[in-house]
Amino acid sequence: MAIDAATVRKVAHLARIKTPEDRLEPLAGELNGILAWIEQLNEVDVDGVEPMTSNVAQALRLRDDVVTDGNKVADVLGNAPQSTDGFFVVPKVVE
């Protein structure tokens, strides 16, 4: 499953990371190196093995339905690059 420059371009866009054209080939090379090394996982017999998503062998705790948070507009907007009248401001979104 070798990665080419086009794949890197596509995945970098999925990850929303601007990647200059001249970085695509070198990145593809690095990623291929890492992925080739990762391929050794194919040696492992994983038939019938349940994927392990967590180390914690307990069920999810449930919270009570009570309002305990909110009303902190200053905190919410305090680090915003741009805000106005209680809103975050972002470039015009065209739908």
Partner: protein, 492 residues
């Protein structure tokens, strides 16, 4: 009193309680040490001198009344991925340069509850991704240790490089750190300090900037095993704000320190002998085995057959989780926003390209790739299955052994710049530590000897889930047997 900075955490806490010195005094001593060392070692991203002095005065007032918690008045360093209320928290990234959280991480809040004093925020690999501290947007931390006959600056390891270097260079009594694949234990090994990653779920992840949620775990870096036991107890807690936090009692681990290990069964996994491992590492390991045998342990050769697959599995799971965890850094609500962009997509892509460093970007792209359509099962799901195989390896040996002894790292600290060319070379640093993260087990690194260049080397003890007590017990025996007292010669 100029030697206050050389105290162990325990000695300092005892001295403060006994009013041999005040928190103001010891805090001042550390701030002075930081001021002179930091331009060279670069361990702190932010020094919170005023806050430290305020906290010290409050601690002194409590101590004067005979009150105060288990860490009352003790100055600590905080890794810069624990959010600290009102204090810049960067996670070593330009993305979060200037970010001031209006909240406190549970781990640091626990330390303040117990009376500790914050000296500042410690440098680290960007978003904890790295093993040399070179990925930090604030420049690498320099290891206070030098190899004999060389003036080359060495890495303190990573990602908790600032934590390890500051403890080794006497810039704080102890420091918080975090470990996703070895980020506490490897820097501890590289700096002659003690570092423990507890069982996953012991320390709350609330307020800790996430790298890989299913692996991240906080722990301390300290000068002694006893200090680690003392500080870990304060850091850990059951926290309803973290769904993966374990609702279990937190024992007094200091009681395990110095306890006889006679009769304990210690596993020595054959798979941890890796290709190209320096003889010095093998010798250190053999030495450790001999010490434990002398102390009355039964040494049991064991097999953890899937060990070699741990690192490749980790390099799927961790980047995958990171690619999602770091999606929130988009320049919209906090963090870096690029100037002069032409569209929403351009704003996203440019902000993230500018805000993240090379290693982070590489991992985010790998993470997005292994989760993408067509590759999810082949990479991600397979890695999760291998992860279970690795955890099962451990489950199978716990019947025969009480703890496992391995080297902490495959080498001593290396020179800054040495392994930057090949990411894979860098990844191999975590080869002995990463299994404990995948399986959620506690693991400690204890300084146990020096290499031929006089650089510290560490031994790792891995324990059963929630059995930090045995880990501390064995680590303390190693510490005692090794009699490790070496300190870096002050050159900074």
């Amino acid at each position: 009193m100029s030697d206050l900075t050389k105290l162990t955490l325990k000695a300092a806490v005892d001295g403060l309680k006994a009013k041999q010195f005040s928190s103001e005094e010891i805090t001042t001593a550390f701030l002075t040490a930081i001021e002179s060392a930091n331009p060279t070692l670069n361990a702190f991203v932010t020094v919170t001198a005023d806050k430290a002095m305020d906290m010290a005065r409050v601690a002194d007032a409590r101590l004067a009344k005979g009150e105060g918690g288990t860490l009352e008045g003790a100055p600590l360093g905080i890794k810069d991925l624990f959010c600290t209320d009102g204090v810049q928290t960067t996670a070593g990234s330009n993305m979060l340069r200037g970010f001031v959280p209006p909240y406190e991480s549970t781990v640091s809040a626990n330390l303040w509850r117990d009376g500790a004093v914050m000296l500042g925020k410690l440098n680290m690999d960007e978003f904890a991704m790295g093993s040399s501290n070179e990925t930090s947007a604030f420049g690498p931390v320099v290891n206070p240790w030098k190899s004999t006959g060389s003036n080359a600056d060495l890495t303190p390891g990573g990602s908790s490089g600032g934590s390890a270097a500051s403890v080794a260079a006497d810039l704080c009594l102890a420091a918080t750190a975090s470990d996703t694949g070895g980020s506490i234990r490897q820097p501890a090994a590289f700096t002659g300090t003690v570092g423990i990653k507890p069982t996953y779920g012991r320390a709350s992840r609330f307020g800790m900037v996430a790298f890989a949620s299913s692996l991240d775990q906080a722990g301390p870096i300290t000068r002694t095993v006893a200090d680690a036991a003392l500080m870990l107890k304060s850091m850990c807690s059951f926290d309803v704000k973290d769904s993966t936090s374990l609702d279990v009692p937190i024992p007094d681990w200091t009681a395990s320190v110095g306890q006889s290990i006679k009769g304990l069964r210690i596993g020595v996994p054959k798979e941890y002998v890796v290709d190209g491992m320096p003889a010095e590492i093998q010798n250190l390991w053999d030495q450790g085995i001999a010490w434990l045998k002398d102390a009355g342990c039964e040494i049991v050769p064991i097999s953890l057959p899937h060990t070699k697959y741990a690192l490749p599995a980790y390099y799927i799971i961790a980047p995958a989780e990171a690619s999602s965890n770091l999606a929130r850094y988009d320049g919209m609500r906090f963090g870096h926003r690029a100037e002069g962009t032409t569209s929403l997509t351009d704003l996203y892509e440019t902000s993230r390209a500018e805000g993240f460093g090379g290693e982070v970007k590489r991992r985010l792209i790998i993470g997005a790739y292994v989760l993408s359509a067509g590759f999810y099962d082949a990479y991600y799901v397979r890695a999760l299955k291998v992860r279970r195989r690795i955890a099962e390896d451990f489950d199978k040996v716990w019947g025969q052994v009480d703890a496992i002894l391995t080297p902490s790292t495959p080498s001593a600290a290396f020179a800054l710049g040495d392994k930057q060319i090949d990411p894979l070379q860098m990844y191999l640093n975590d080869i002995f530590t990463v299994t404990a993260n995948l399986a959620g087990l506690p693991g400690i690194s204890v300084p146990a000897g020096l290499d031929s260049g006089g650089l510290p080397l560490g031994l790792q003890v891995i324990g059963k889930a929630l059995d930090e007590a045995t880990v501390f017990q064995v680590a303390s025996a190693l510490e005692g047997a090794a009699g490790f007292v070496a300190k870096p010669e002050k050159w900074w």
